[in-house]
Each structure stands twice: as C-alpha cells, then as structure tokens.
Amino acid sequence: MSDEPSNASGESRGTAGDGERRRPAGSVWHPAEHASIDEAPEPRAAPPAAQFSRQSLSRRELLKSGARGVSLLGFGAAAGFLSGRENKADMRWQIDPNQCIQCGRCATECVLEVSAVKCVHSFGMCGYCKLCTGYFEPEPINLDEGAENQLCPTGAIKREYIEDPYYEYSINRELCVGCGKCVKGCNMFGNGSLYLQVCHDRCINCNICSIATACPAQAFHRVPVAKPYLLRGKGAPGK
C-alpha cells in the first residue's frame, strides 16, 4: 500500500494509483479514462501457487469454524446463565430516605438538566408546625412567606394556614430541584416528613444512576418497578 495520505472520500471511486488526479465532479467514471491504471507499476511479485493457498486457507477455515463453535457455545452459556436468574424483576433507582444525608448532590449529579430527584412530603407524618425548619431559614426575620425567610432556593414549598397554630406545607414539583435543603431542616429538627425520592416520571432509568455513583451515603438502590418508591410514614400508599 502506498504511504501517501488517502484521498478517498465517502463515495469516491476513481482514486486509482499513485499521483492520480481527481475526476471532475459530475463526470461519469470510466476506467478507460484512467490511463494510469495500465501504467501502474506491478505492485508485488506474482502470487504463490494456488494449490498451496487453498491448503493453508482450508486449515484456517477449520480453525475458524472451531473457534466460532466454541464462541457460540460460550455466548449461549453466558446468556443462559444470566437469564436463568430467579430475580428477573424490572428495576428502578430509588433513594432510601433513612440513608440520605442531604448532601445536595442529587441536584447536581443527575444527567438531566433538572434532576429527577425531588422532595416528597408525607403529610401524615408532618407536625404542621408554624415554625417549620424545613420551610424557614435558621433564625428567620418573620414567620411569613417572604423570600428572605425561605430555605428553598426556588420557592417550591407552599405554606398554607389551616387552623391555629397549624400550617400545611406542600411541594410544587415543577419548581423543586432536589437540593434537599428543606429535607435537611426537617430531618434535623422536625419529624422528617420531607425527604428526597427519584421521581419516575422524570427518571430515564440510566444503566447506572450517575447520582448513585456520587452518593456519599450509598443511599441509592435498585428497587423493583412494582414498588418504585421508598415512602415514609403511615399514610404512604403501599405500606
């Protein structure tokens, strides 16, 4: 093979020989135009006797088919071994809220632009506190809905007066980015009714969850699709 750089392109067909000029675009290729083909130097010595080649080829063929058979058997065995597992459930990624330490990586490590992890509120566990440590900054100026008092960076928690002294807090999933700031506050001083979960309408179920590999608490697990959430509290469905 010549050492000069290839001038072949996707559909090129007329690049024959050394020093061959390129055919003009649109012209019909015809080998007769290519004078250099006939002038091309004999590239190599005459090939060996055909009989020898055939011999060597047949031996090679034999070895090849042997290897092919062995490989096929190997693949079959591996596939059979793996598909013979009893546990064949379709799995999804989920956070165990009891292992989560609210480090904040759920918001940053997901392959999606806005993380698939969002805060979930188990209302049945909530104390409906007036001073909610998941809602308010530490030492808030006022106990009201002012942005300067809120912990949530996106204002995703709605605070609603129910009856004195109880307030209901609900998460706006559209706004939540899964940073876990409210979860930290709630778990540290409150009932722990706020916690992070992988929301399966957004999760694209990556082969390996990139948050799971970054999670310092090893809180991510594969769970069967039939029960894809690890919810807290008595009011949680499926508990």
Binding site: M1, P5, N7, S9, R13, G14, T15, A16, W29, H30, P31, A32, I37, R44, P48, S53, S56, R60, S65, A67, R68, F75, A78, A79, L82, S83, R85, N87, K88, D90, M91, N98, Q99, V111, E113, V120, S122, F123, M125, G127, I162, E163, S170, N191, G192, Q197, C199, D201, R202, C206, N207, T213, C215, P216, A217, Q218, V225, P228, G233, P237
Partner: protein, 499 residues
C-alpha cells in the same frame, strides 16, 4: 490467595503510617480466628488493624449492651415511623392529603428494543453481504441513530451492556434485564456469522461518527496499531470496575450519550463534540480507538463465516479500491511465504508465541493486580474505609467529607466497614490479576499478528476491523458491472485469473 499476600498488597491502605497491630494479652480473639487472620505480634502489616479493633470492641460491647440495645431500638423506630418530634395534629375540618408520587412509565420498550435490534442486525447483514448497498446502509444507520440514539437516548446500549453482564456474573443478586442480555449477545453472535454489521447499521455511536465523516485522513500504521490497544485497556478497566460493583466506566465516560440526551456534564458534552469534529477527518475514532464492544466484535468477526468482500466475484487487483477504506480495514494482497521460508516463519511464530504469551500474561497479571488495588478507593466501601482510617490517624483537616458524615450519622460499625473493605481488596486484587492476564494474552496475540500477518490473496477486507460500511464496494469495476454500470474492466485477467 493467601491472607499474608493480601496483607502485603494492602499497603496502600494500612501501610501509610506503618501501623502495627497489638493484640492485648496475646490472646487471639474469637472473631479474628473466624476471619482467617493469624494475630501475630510482629512486623506483619494487617489491613485496617482488624485484630486490635475487634479485641477492643469485644471488651467494650458487654458493658455498653443495654445502651446499645436502646439506641438500636430507637433507631429502628425512627426509621420505621419517622422521628415524630411534633405529633401530627388531629384536624376537625381538614383532611390530611395523601402522598402523591408519579408512576413509572410503562416499559414496553424492552421488547421493542430487542425486536428493533434483531431486525436492524438482519438488515445490516443483508445490506452488507447480499444487497451490497451503501445507500441502504446509510438509511439504516440514520434510522438506528434516530431510534437507539435520540429516541431511546442511547441507554441502554450494547457497549454498556458489557458492564451489566460482568456485574451479573460477579454478583448473583444483580439481575440483568433480558433486553440487556440480548443487546450483549445478539451482535456478537451475528458477528460470528456475518461480520460487524452491527457497527455499520445498528450502533448509534457508530452511525453518528460515520455520518459526519467528510474527508478521511489515513492514520499511520504504527499509530493505528498502538491506538488499537486502547479499547482493550478500556474493556479491562470497565470489567474490573463493573464486576466489583464500583461504577460503570463506559457509561460514565460515554462521549455521545450526552449528545443523544442533549444534556449531561459539560466535560462529557464537550468531549462528545470534540470527538465528532475529529470524526469528520478520522474515520470512526471512538469505534476504532476506544470502543470496548468494538474490540469484542472484532475478535468475533475474525471467525466470521461470511464477511463483506470488495468485489462481488472477481478481483483483478486493479487497485481502484485501495484507498477507499477510511478505517484502515482493507488489506492489500500479500503473498504468503512458500516452502522452506514458510516453515521457518511458522516456527518463528510458534517460538514467539511460546515466549511472549506467558511473559505478557505474567507481566500484565502483575500490573493488573496493582491497578486493581489502586482502583479500590473508587469503590464506595473502599473509599469509606480509607477515609475512616485517615480520620482516625488525624490525617483529615477541615470539614469532614460527606462520606464520613454519613458514616457518623448512621452510627455505622467501623469493624463492618473495615472487614468489607478487606474482602473487597482481595477481590480487586484477584480480579485485577485475572483481567491483566487476559490483557497480556490479547497483547501477545496482537503482536504476533503484526509480525506474522496472515497472507491475503487479493484486496480483502480485514475481517476483524471491517465495520461493513460498504464504502469500498462502489470502487470495484466488477461491482459496477453487477449494478449494470457500463464499465470496461481494467487489466482483465492481467494479474491473476479467476480466484
């Protein structure tokens, strides 16, 4: 592998300060006997000073037992019912809402994926061997790019399935989905019979590179050979890290999946774009120089029953196809040696293999063990153990890393952490050695093929490297004749007659 060698190799963790275990009273504890560790008070370095820790723990635990039990009970209640520092109020006129969580999307796509894959493989094989159509192949690869790439967002793919299979074999609790098993096996089985049609027509990673190729430059032979070792290194590391349950390397550094999802870490997106720009001039750089599945397919395709041929019937060695392959997968005719020379060459090859194979296998087996141990801190358990050890020795300054926060917060048992890390260390070492051994074998065979190439009679596609893109076909005058294009055959029968 013996415990002693583990201890010696474990110096990356336990040897940092040259810690020497002291067993109180010289009395071997009951637990340490169970782990197979011989408590010798000598200069032997023992990973994670298990012995002394167990000895300490065994004398503290009885005294603390009531307290521990209470704590455990509390922890159990906490995890089951939440903390409930403030009892939930009983409202008279307000209904407490239920937790609302969105349902997972139904996964009917699994079987659709397998069907599309099988159909794609059949079509690619038919297009490359029977139909011999470049246009058909381009259309097929566009379809695959749309379906597997942008619709399925590149996950899960055949390349990544290597890791699922490795993890599935190593970890009996992990179930590999059937779709992933078929994604792994089907292309390999097809490659054993019809060559790498998967790369040309079905793989979205291949398609996206192939479709942007405008002006291929030829990679020098020596550089090409050197770079073609990289997929094997990638494969070795990926299998090591996947089988130990550390991480999925191929997925983590997949350059194109970010483009398919139109999202992802910036560095990955940038490398994907850079690789695409490179693929405009270097044919399929990821497939040739990085893809671990391509390496496996290449081996399978070497044993293929049928493979794409440049000419549909006869080669007159007109050299028109010589430069048409952008992937360096077209071999020029190389007459095999004859007679005495051939016997000598055969002998040389056997001698070379007999020397090289054990040597390379041993060398890389050793290297593999080292790499395995170096990779231990990538595993969450290994990382935690080394961090705990580092903190206990006062090696940590500033705020503790989140791993340690989690460790303290859960009041996890340091003995469990260390014993887990020790078993893991042994596993990394053994697996690293085996994978290194295999890598050495591959390297030796690669070298043997470079020094003693198999002769080819005519211009032939290299069965291992050819991705069945069908570009070279249209350069062949016989192919043009077959398609009904009026051409005269250059040097008809001038060089060699019918083959």
């Amino acid at each position: 592998m013996s415990r002693a060698s583990t201890g010696r190799q474990a110096s990356c963790l336990s040897g940092q300060t040259g810690f020497q275990p002291v067993v109180s009273g010289g009395q071997p504890s009951r637990l340490s006997g169970k782990t197979g560790f011989q408590p010798v008070v000598s200069s032997n370095r023992i990973p994670f000073n298990i012995a002394s820790a167990i000895a300490k723990a065994t004398c503290i635990i009885p005294r603390l037992f009531p307290v521990l039990a209470l704590l455990l009970l509390l922890a159990g209640m906490e995890s089951a019912l939440g903390i409930e520092r403030f009892p939930p109020p009983d409202f008279s006129g307000h209904a407490v809402p239920q937790v609302v969580v969105p349902n997972p999307q139904p996964r009917t796509t699994d079987w659709l994926d397998v069907t599309v894959l099988a159909a794609g493989l059949a079509a690619a094989s038919w297009l490359s061997l029977k139909q011999r159509s470049r246009r058909g192949m381009v259309i097929l690869s566009l379809g695959s790019l749309a379906y597997f790439g942008f619709w399925r967002r590149g996950c899960v793919c055949a390349i990544g399935s290597i890791q699922n299979v490795a993890l599935g074999i190593a970890d009996p609790t992990y179930a590999v989905p059937l779709a992933v098993i078929s994604l792994f096996t089907l292309p390999l089985v097809v490659a054993l019979v019809w060559g790498r049609g998967f790369c040309a027509g079905v793989c979205p990673h291949g398609a996206i590179q192939d479709l942007v190729l405008v002006k291929p430059i030829k990679v020098p032979g020596w550089l090409d050979e050197c770079l073609r070792v990289l997929p094997w290194i990638h494969l070795a590391l990926a299998v090591l890290l996947a089988a130990t349950g550390t991480l999925f390397l191929i997925c983590k550094f997949d350059p194109f999946v970010g483009i398919f999802r139109l999202a992802g870490p910036r560095i990955i997106l940038a490398s994907g774009v850079a690789l695409l720009v490179l693929s405009m001039f270097v044919g399929r750089p990821y497939c040739r120089y990085l893809c671990p599945y391509g390496a496996l397919l290449g081996v399978a395709a070497r044993f293929a029953k049928w493979r794409p041929t440049v000419t549909p019937n006869t080669c007159t060695q007109c050299r028109l196809c010589e430069n048409t392959c952008p992937f360096g997968a077209l071999n020029p005719p190389m007459p095999a040696k004859q007679g005495q020379e051939r016997v000598a060459s055969g002998r040389q090859r056997i001698v070379m293999l007999a020397v090289m194979v054990p040597l390379a296998a041993l060398l890389f087996g050793w290297v593999g063990g080292k790499v395995g141990l170096a990779a231990l801190p990538l595993h969450p358990d290994g990382k935690l153990a080394s961090l705990v050890l580092l903190q206990e020795r006062g090696g940590l300054i500033g705020t503790p890393p989140d791993e340690l926060t989690a460790f303290r917060q859960h009041a996890a048992d340091r003995l469990t952490v260390f014993s887990r890390a020790t078993t893991l260390e042994a596993r990394f070492l053994t697996l690293g050695r085996w994978i290194g051994l295999f890598f050495g074998l591959v390297l030796a065979l690669k070298l043997a093929r470079i020094f003693f190439p198999a002769g080819s009679l005519d211009y032939e596609t290299d069965s291992g490297r050819c991705v069945s893109c069908t570009r070279c076909f249209s350069a062949c005058p016989y192919e043009l004749l077959r398609r009904g294009v009026p051409v005269t055959i250059p040097q008809e029968g001038g060089y060699r007659g019918n083959s």
